[in-house]
Subunit: 243 residues, 2 copies
DNA sequence: ATCATACGGTCATCCTACAACTTCGGCAAG
DNA sequence: CTTGCCGAAGTTGTAGGATGACCGTATGAT
């Protein structure tokens, strides 16, 4: 009798579902910043779960700085500006417009990443980048290992900047894009474009090896544009990008 | 008898302390990615807390993708690349080197933010930016409202890019910097530099109003450099930044 | 040798109880 | 009427135990 009926069949754990529900309510503006949430008991009743599950859900939101709990008073919604963590809703990326924006952000980060890396990279860094490049070219199939090698290539460049935050941010953004694209790829094979992709990477690597910041940045910018269009995302507003 | 002795005097809640401890152990490499954590009961004993507290701590780490729990098996630490959230350790920012790197990231994001905003901003956007600018100039004291207005200015620009992710990332990075600097400011007053700061903002605003992307980007880049040096952070490696 | 089953370990959830804290109202002293 | 104390009620924080669901492995039958 303990395990209550799941109401809605779902593989997700209860705390995560409660957290997502509350998160959407907050993001959607149903609860304005500064307002108090219902008590844990009320939420437990509302969702049909135990208070314990509600507490775990709130613990997650609290860690993100989305809500703040004060003992003896209640839990309050925080202003969206003072979040202590960035989290990207993967559901939202099904919207083409959001995907475009994420690619634009990636373009900014990676272009500058390549520029910095060209000026700073050591021979060890170059070796790591080259290794990823070789592994990518070695795979004739697009599917499995190729994508991993692709990510490895970009991360190796980010690491070569010597800036840990740049590495973290780029890894994060790329991973979000990868997972969003993963299953969407099944619709269009686009294997024939692998050579184009590899060629773009080679171009970037050459610029890095030559320690030519401008060429590296330019090569990366074009590569991201190309990668975006290859998955059906057009980076509009190319204005003010040139130079 | 229930409330156990806190062992270490701390105002932080128990789950947060446990989560921080585990997080440090993972970041520090004490636990290799893929390895299994001790069971919840063992952790509860180890930290001298109830299993409930351990679960809340793990819930936080799980939300970040730092660990993955499989029912009936155990909890495993994930590779740092596939985190689902970005979180910046504020303690680490006490290290000058990390602060420099964060400023460098901010410089990248904000420079491009200003560039894009110059090309895309509407009159409404400009009004919002101008309002923040006026509010900043209105305050003769540096302390309280001035900093808020400063952040508002930068966020307004980020919003004018029309890219929600850029807004989110910039808000996040700026907030981290602000809170890290907050108390460190007490040592050096530096009130006399307020005019310089405002002047830099005016220069950026003028470029935005003129819809001059290059001037806006350049103005922002210089402003971040100036802001960094004003709090004692020197952005070295200005290489490859010009042009 | 292969497959089905039983078993122990672990996470997931629930429940109750209590401690710590805040808020608010009543009540008495000034 | 104002002020200050104090206790009741409500809320979050923590403890601890019980049970269900799930996984991996060992055991035993075929």
């Amino acid at each position: 009798m303990k395990q209550r009926s799941s109401i809605i069949g779902s593989v997700e754990a209860l705390p995560h579902r409660v957290a997502s529900h509350l998160s959407r309510e907050i993001e959607g503006g149903d609860i304005i910043p500064g307002a108090r949430l219902p008590t844990e008991s009320q939420l437990a009743d509302k969702f049909g779960v135990s208070r314990n599950v509600v507490r775990e859900a709130i613990a997650q939101l609290r860690a993100d700085g989305m809500i703040e709990a004060r003992q003896g008073v209640g839990a309050f919604v925080m202003a969206p500006e003072q979040r202590t963590a960035i989290r990207i809703d993967r559901e939202a990326l099904k919207d083409q417009r959001n995907m475009e924006q994420l690619f634009e952000l990636r373009s900014i980060l990676e272009t500058e990443s390549a520029t910095l890396a060209a000026a700073r990279c050591t021979s060890d860094d170059l070796d790591a980048i080259k290794a990823a490049l070789d592994r990518m070219g070695g795979e004739e199939r697009w599917e499995d290992g190729s994508i991993e090698a692709d990510l490895l290539f970009h991360r190796a460049i980010a690491r070569a900047t010597g800036n840990g935050y740049i590495y973290t941010f780029i890894s994060f953004v790329c991973e979000q894009i990868r997972q969003s694209i993963h299953y969407a790829r099944l619709t269009n094979p686009l294997h024939d474009l692998v050579e184009v992709n590899v060629a773009e990477h080679v171009r970037i690597y050459d610029a890095l090896a030559a320690h030519d910041p401008q060429a590296a940045g330019e090569g990366m910018r074009r590569h991201i544009d190309g990668a975006a269009s290859r998955v059906g995302v057009e980076l509009t507003a190319k204005i003010n990008r040139g130079k």
